[in-house]
């Protein structure tokens, strides 16, 4: 199920602007890896290169290699659609489909891909909603529109939608940035559960959150505005937060940055 990601020499561009430069790292299966770093250093860009969403942006272009176990995502015969089925994504702002009910939102990935058996669908929807810790709150109104939920519930709905297609890796871009502490806690607990089954990468601006949920932490930085972002270091979360090997990391974490 869960797969290892091996990135080497990866750069991403918006048109001619190099947003991230020469990043190499390994993301371990069945673990949570957190990306931290100042705004604009390319965390989201890097995350989106991991499921080939970067090239959806007009002008988006990638150089380098991303190995998922032993397959290069950027190999010439690889279908980006298939990549995105394997590597799911949760966005910073909850974005349920406004025309669909809660049930249809969760079922969307399967239905739109046409890869399901009708009688399995109910079970998958229930399992995904339970997996996203949302089942008890919505089980009586599965046919109501998904946009009628609160922000935190919508975000968990989006997580349910992402895990319903059974990806092997789950990418989350600041999934809690718009949420209250209780919803945040619910999602952090959820991440703890999900890592039993998935490889998880999470971008966060919240140091405590990175420290709480992640096994490994990667610190990104950029030399100056307009320069490409770089990976400074990646290590066990405990080490990054107690005794990082690079001074810049320590400065950033302790708030002595800039």
């Amino acid at each position: 199920m869960a797969k290892r990601i091996d990135v080497s020499g990866l750069s991403a561009f918006y048109g001619s602007h190099r947003a991230i430069d020469d990043i190499s790292m390994t993301v371990e299966p069945r673990s949570v890896t957190a990306f931290i770093g100042p705004s604009g250093c390319g965390k989201s860009t890097f995350l989106r290169t991991l499921n080939r969403m970067h090239e959806v942006t007009p002008g988006g272009r990638v150089e380098g290699k991303v190995m998922l176990d032993d397959e290069n995502l950027y190999g010439s015969s690889v279908d980006p659609v298939a990549v995105r089925r394997t590597v799911g994504m949760v966005f910073q702002r909850p974005n349920p489909f406004p025309t669909m009910s809660i049930y249809d939102n969760v079922a969307a990935g399967l239905r739109l891909n046409g890869s399901y058996k009708k009688r399995d669908l109910d079970g998958i929807v229930e399992k995904s909603l339970q997996g996203a810790n949302l089942w008890n709150e919505v089980k009586d109104r599965l046919n109501k529109p998904g946009s009628g939920l609160s922000g935190g519930q919508q975000q968990r709905l989006c997580i349910a939608r992402a895990i319903a297609v059974e990806p092997q890796v789950l990418l989350m871009d600041e999934p809690c940035s718009a949420l209250d502490p209780i919803s945040t806690l619910a999602i952090e607990d959820l991440i703890g559960d999900l890592k039993e089954r998935f490889t998880i990468v999470i971008v966060t601006h919240n140091m405590q959150q990175a420290a709480r949920v992640s096994d490994r932490t990667a610190f990104f930085n950029l030399e100056a505005v307009g320069k490409p972002g770089k990976l400074i270091e990646i290590d066990e979360t405990e080490r990054i937060f107690s005794n990082p090997s690079v001074q810049a990391t320590e400065d950033y974490i302790s708030g002595r940055f800039g």
Binding site: T86, N95, T99
Partner: protein, 353 residues
């Protein structure tokens, strides 16, 4: 502090002002209407339009003067802006209301079941009676065929422009759509006349009219659909793509359903627009007094053309028939609008619980 005259803040430390009562604007409007018509009457002006303009000027100036005296300069500016908006609104609505009123008042005289279910066969302009059944059939068929051709092409063009188009081709298409939007209907008619009728040797038919109407309708559909598709947030597309849904299915299952309400409204408005076109129909369908159910051969009637032809005959009976047909046309367009609204509301993305 020079920008705040003392009258604005009567007592320092309070936020309350001297305010005009709620009914003041309405009262002022009534008073200036009375003043306008009184003066107009006294001066012996016949045109009610002049009375109305006079009243409007009184209303705007009166509002300003009185508010300045009572509430101070800043509020007066606010009120004058409000009153100008109201006057403009009235200027826009009055002609519309009067047009509707005239058409209804004159049209209902002949509009009945007989009028809707009979043609003009065997009648001349000197006798009453007759009907518009043949014209309704003609309009319905011509508009239906035009819609069948224009909507798919327009929809696909808009999808191409918004979802796929970049670079030269998209720019060129946008340019031509812009140019087409500005084509006068008579030119569209002449174009079909010179190709379909003169070059290919086809005779006049309802379908020839549909071809010209298609040319007029397509750019409207493209434009309105394009705007609606642009309103669909990119996040929804990305959410769908990130689930591993191919792009074409994303467009079909996520983008289009989200925009379908607006798209339908746009299509309905385009239909309403071409239903009233006279010039190309006159060139290509020619009009007829008889029922012709076959849009592919021979002359057909159509409602706007019927209105024009009956009006040109110039007898009291033909005038009545022209107004009756005009009322029918307006009702047809209005029903289409209502249907569009109903669909838009029914299909709109749902919020709330």
């Amino acid at each position: 502090m020079d920008r705040q005259p003392a009258t604005d803040t009567p007592a320092p430390g309070t936020l309350a002002h001297r305010r005009m009562p709620r009914w003041a604007p309405a009262g002022l409007a009534l008073a200036s209407a009375a003043l306008g018509s009184g003066l107009g009457l006294a001066a012996g002006w016949h045109s009610k339009v002049q009375w109305g303009l006079l009243a409007a000027i009184f209303f705007v100036l009166g509002t300003y003067a009185i508010t300045t005296a009572v509430e101070g300069k800043r509020q007066a500016k606010d009120r004058i802006a409000t009153s100008i908006v109201w006057v403009c609104f009235a200027l826009a609505v009055v002609p519309l209301a009067s047009l509707t009123w005239t058409t209804v008042a004159r049209g209902v005289k002949v509009l009945d079941g007989y009028f809707l279910s009979h043609s003009m066969a065997g009648l001349n302009q000197m006798v009453p009676g007759g009907g518009i059944y043949h014209a309704i059939i003609g309009t319905l068929e011509q508009v239906a065929f035009a819609t069948l051709m224009a909507v798919p092409v327009g929809l696909l063009t808009a999808i191409y422009l918004v979802e796929y188009g970049k670079g030269r081709l998209a720019k060129a298409v946008t340019f031509f759509v812009d140019v087409m939007t500005g084509i006068p209907s008579i030119v569209a008619g002449l174009f079909i006349l010179s190709t379909w009728v003169l070059t290919f040797g086809m005779g006049p038919s309802g379908f020839a009219g549909s071809l010209a109407l298609t040319i007029l309708m397509m750019p409207i559909v493209v434009r309105s659909t394009e705007e609606m598709l642009k309103l669909v947030p990119n996040e929804l597309r990305e959410a769908s793509l990130a689930l591993g849904v191919p792009k074409w299915r994303t467009i079909l299952k996520v983008v289009l359903p989200t925009a379908i309400g607006g798209i339908t409204t746009g299509v309905m408005l385009a239909v309403a627009r071409i239903a009233g076109e006279t010039a190309p129909v006159m060139l290509l369908v020619l009009g007829s007094s008889f029922i012709n159910n076959d849009p592919f051969s021979d002359e057909q009637a159509s409602l706007p053309l019927y209105v024009y032809q009956e009006y040109m005959l110039g007898t009291p009976y033909s005038y009545d028939r022209a107004w009756g047909a005009a009322l029918t046309l307006i009702m047809f367009v209005m029903i289409l609008n209502l249907v569009a609204r109903a669909i838009a509301r029914w299909k709109a993305p749902k919020t709330g619980r």
